[in-house]
Assembly symmetry: D2
Homo-oligomer: 342 residues x 4
């Protein structure tokens, strides 16, 4: 079985495992107060060109999202998200569990537009009954989105401008940040200039687990460790996170392995296109959503894993093929051969 | 100024005020444990034909809604509501503040359909990743809706059937229950047979304040008073609620005064229709949503209060005219005269 | 039956009822945006000598407490309270329901000391593992306390000094404020100078219901109405609160009726003392806690209501006699006569 | 530096690391739905003699505690804990953040007594104002406690009996379960018979991270995975937990390594006792609390890490020496040598 079902079905990049093995016998202070976390944070501050940023390492994505949102908002403030946003669609109401409404906006390709945001902001600003509705205070976007699409630098700048106009925070969920950076014109430095806070995902990008939370806006920095602890995200042996991220940030490994995954995904994309298979949408990253008929699914499902997304009509289904840092060129060539035979 | 802006801009029906005055010198046990609350609860149990129902009296509507929902749901369970539902659109995220997601469904006239509900229920039932989404456990509808529309008995029965199929609770927000009962083919007995719990509103139907919460489903009854207290809804001088509801339930007063308000609204509706003024939707209750142009608004706004709902185009606005238990036939005749001159 | 069981077993002072009756036919804007609320707020700002204070009127005490605390605190911040504090002992975990820990401190007479507070503040300030504990950010005291005791001006100043030293808010629950002001050397102006926010209770001090929340600290003012709505405390017919408080604040009525209740309580206290009956503690306000034996209880309970507080030994019980604005000198004379016969 | 400061300052037992390495190249389904988690759950069901138990693997202790408590309780229900309980003293109000009060009971040695519990249960059962207080529904104990003490089988049986009498759940926090089992007369089978749910800690007992939650009471099993996801405890690469626990449960490794740590702690204890150094309390497990004077602390702190617990008087401090699965006999011998020289 060759696995294209998701980007978190294998352990970690060899360099990460080696780094863990190299420190396995050592003893460290707990709770993220160790030299490895400090080193990884410094690396990330350098990579983002943001020497003042606060950097924290948490275990998981849902945890990072609701911890950050719970820390940023007052009880009557809400989150704006695409209807397909991970916090809205895949996290069991974790954000609402912390007390905050999510206002979902329609977004076929998973992206919010500045116009949508401006409408939300303006609607609250001009509401004559403001105290009867929540204040849209934090804009959640994912980069890349759940559909593999990415915001261009210009689009991000436009979102930022709207956030500035209405006093909203821009929070970027970067669970797949590495794949997004490989696909568009946005850099980590841009991210640090444009977002108030964002995450840099490890789990799907070469680590066993771990998400870095980068807080740029000074308002959001105080006592963030208290929020981490309260929300169950403070790993006792926190150095396990620092060691992994430090290995990933060494010599650009994080970016290289994600770029390769995206290149391989582009090869798969080209093969589907050459075969005349339609796409659900145009994704430039490691997730490709194609529309297959039942016979095509049958032809591939014995040899490859891939993920059903949704039925498009009685005969067709949209499915996801996903590469990762662990995908090999050989695996992709085999798949391409079989796509050509469909 | 003649007031048609809402149905809660005047105090209370004279019979309610007299009942309050008659008991003003008496002394009672607190927190709703008085004979008047018991009497009003008995009256409501009789009116609903539900001798086993638990009846509680709270002060306000938002409070009643989130208290009941918080009591009914486990943390991972969510509420299904029309996008225009009061809990979703007008209560400052109060339900989410108690930790629960609301899934809003589109509904132009404020009503959910059994088909929509069935889709939500089926989608959860068949989800392969159920633990990543919330369980749609409680269906919130308002009767009448925020747009003055009502469910027919048949529609309610269909919703009930879907709720039974998927193990969902049906919660009916009856903040304007009296007006809804006057307009369609649904009775309080139907409500008690079809809903798991519902409210019977006093604030907008002749009382100074107060909402009755009627719990029919035995699962939802235990320790409900603890939820009321925890959520700030337990009035120290609870007899003020019992006295008011008891007066309203005496000799059908509640139903009579609401019926008259609906009849007066029908007169207004007929006048607008006769004048060729379009309606936003067809409402059979005390709230009428008409689409006026700016000159028509100008012609009426010096003499009447009415409420802007939303801009429909550059020249027109949807506005609400609302009658209440306090509206007099004279007030309505005056308005009709002016409508005819538009 | 002559009632001394509590101070909320009768309706409202005649002046309050008259004010309500006088406005019963009028129409008002809803949700507290009416001229009566504005007038009452102005009166209270004048009485507190705090022209910049934000004043809001809510229905109930529990509601006011958790709304204010929820508005003031970040998720990792906690409340310090006497173990006998109302929020800790009598509100069904309402504060915790909003997500905040209460740290209870021992306090036999219901009062916190500056030393206790300083210890809590210092302990957090110097904690090497601060992120593992909550930040004690808000100090809750009641004035008078649940045991009828009051803080002296000097004691309040000392608490304030500790709050300043450790960056803590001082919140005063004034559900019985009128009785407290009548008993000690503290004025409403002192309250406004020393507390960050406090309540002035109506329910137990002459109104049918209602608590005024006075916010002095500018940090706590923004969007407070959103918190009120979210927490179910926004009365649709808000003018009912404004009318009542306005009547109470007219010509010092609020202070006069509470002072009389305290004077009558002092008469009762003197009678018990003269008869050699021991007190649970020395209360200068309208609540008197005396320790009676079973025969004494039996002798009084047929004619008077009073409230059991706790068993003190096999033979004795601590019970509360409580006067109110509604207590008459005749009622007290009758009781004194019977105390003398014990 | 030889480390006795805590039991989570080193990675994992070699067998755990080898198991992780052996599966490093494999691909698995995510979110704990993999064969390793299933295997480890089966092992634990066998070890507890509880074939029907639900077993889940979470990452951290705080997370496991608040997830389980949030799943078990209704909003008005509260937790009873020793004042030294981890959830009360060291988790930043995480339980309150989910909406539940913790009622702390005094407990010098970290243990609750059946008498204390019975008093709490009886007090609620007989309360005339039950709706004004929270229902004590879940009893939290830690085994061993934060002070290293353990409940005897008889004590656990007594707690269970009280829980049965008052309808309370017994929840055992077993973050250090292995050390507790090595010290007293309680077995995992006893635990499964007497508790409603409990955890078996990995983080402090040989794993890199991970806590097993064992749910025995059928009421608490449904949809627990939804709670895990909602609370951020569902590890994407969940097999990392299954692999580790499976290695620990193989051939009794978990029990062996914890037993050795306890034996080494007993050697240290004996050395302190022989030297006449007083103990804060009598602990039979891997944590030893001794009272040292400043010169003794100074003599040891250059060569060993140990943790200050609290100042006992101007000259003395209570400090903790903690062994773990990673402590070697040589390290302990060296320490003993230095203790003898104090």
């Amino acid at each position: 079985m060759i696995r294209f079902n998701n980007d978190y079905n294998r352990g970690a990049h060899p360099a990460v495992l080696q780094a863990l093995a190299a420190t396995a016998g050592d003893s460290f202070p707990g709770y993220g107060l160790d030299p490895w976390c400090e080193k990884a944070a410094d690396q990330l501050r350098a990579l983002t060109g943001s020497p003042e940023a606060a950097v924290h390492f948490l275990v998981g994505g849902t945890q990072s999202n609701f911890t950050a949102i719970s820390a940023a908002l007052r009880p009557y403030q809400s989150v704006v998200s695409a209807v397909s946003g991970h916090i809205h669609a895949h996290e069991t109401g974790a954000v609402e569990h912390t007390g905050h409404k999510i206002t979902p906006l329609p977004a076929k390709d998973g992206k919010l537009t500045a116009e949508q945001l401006a409408q939300v902001g303006e609607s609250y600003r001009t509401s004559p009954v403001r105290e009867h509705i929540t204040q849209p205070k934090l804009v959640y976007i994912s980069f890349p989105t759940e559909y593999g699409t990415v915001y261009s630098l210009r689009e991000l700048q436009q979102l930022r401008a709207v956030c500035d106009r209405y006093g909203m925070y821009l929070f970027v969920d970067g669970a797949r940040m590495g794949y997004g950076l490989a696909a568009g014109d946005v850099t980590l430095q841009d991210m640090a200039r444009l977002a108030d806070l964002f995450t840099v995902g490890g789990t799907k990008c070469g680590a066993l687990f771990g998400e870095a939370v980068v807080i740029v806006n000074p308002t959001l920095k105080p006592d963030f460790r208290s929020y981490i602890k309260q929300n169950g995200g403070m790993l006792a042996k926190g150095w396990l996170l620092g060691v992994q991220f430090s290995a990933l940030f060494q010599d650009g490994l994080y970016f290289d392995i994600c770029r390769q995954a995206v290149e391989l995904a582009m090869d798969i994309k080209a093969a589907f296109a050459a075969r005349g298979i339609p796409f659900y949408l145009d994704s430039p990253t490691n997730q490709q959503f194609v529309i297959l008929d039942h016979s095509q699914i049958e032809a591939l499902e014995g040899k490859y894993t891939f993920e059903p997304d949704h039925q498009t009509d009685a005969e067709h289904m949209c499915v996801r093929f996903c590469t990762s840092w662990a995908t090999t060129p050989q695996e992709v060539q085999t798949l391409i051969g079989d796509i050509q035979k469909l």
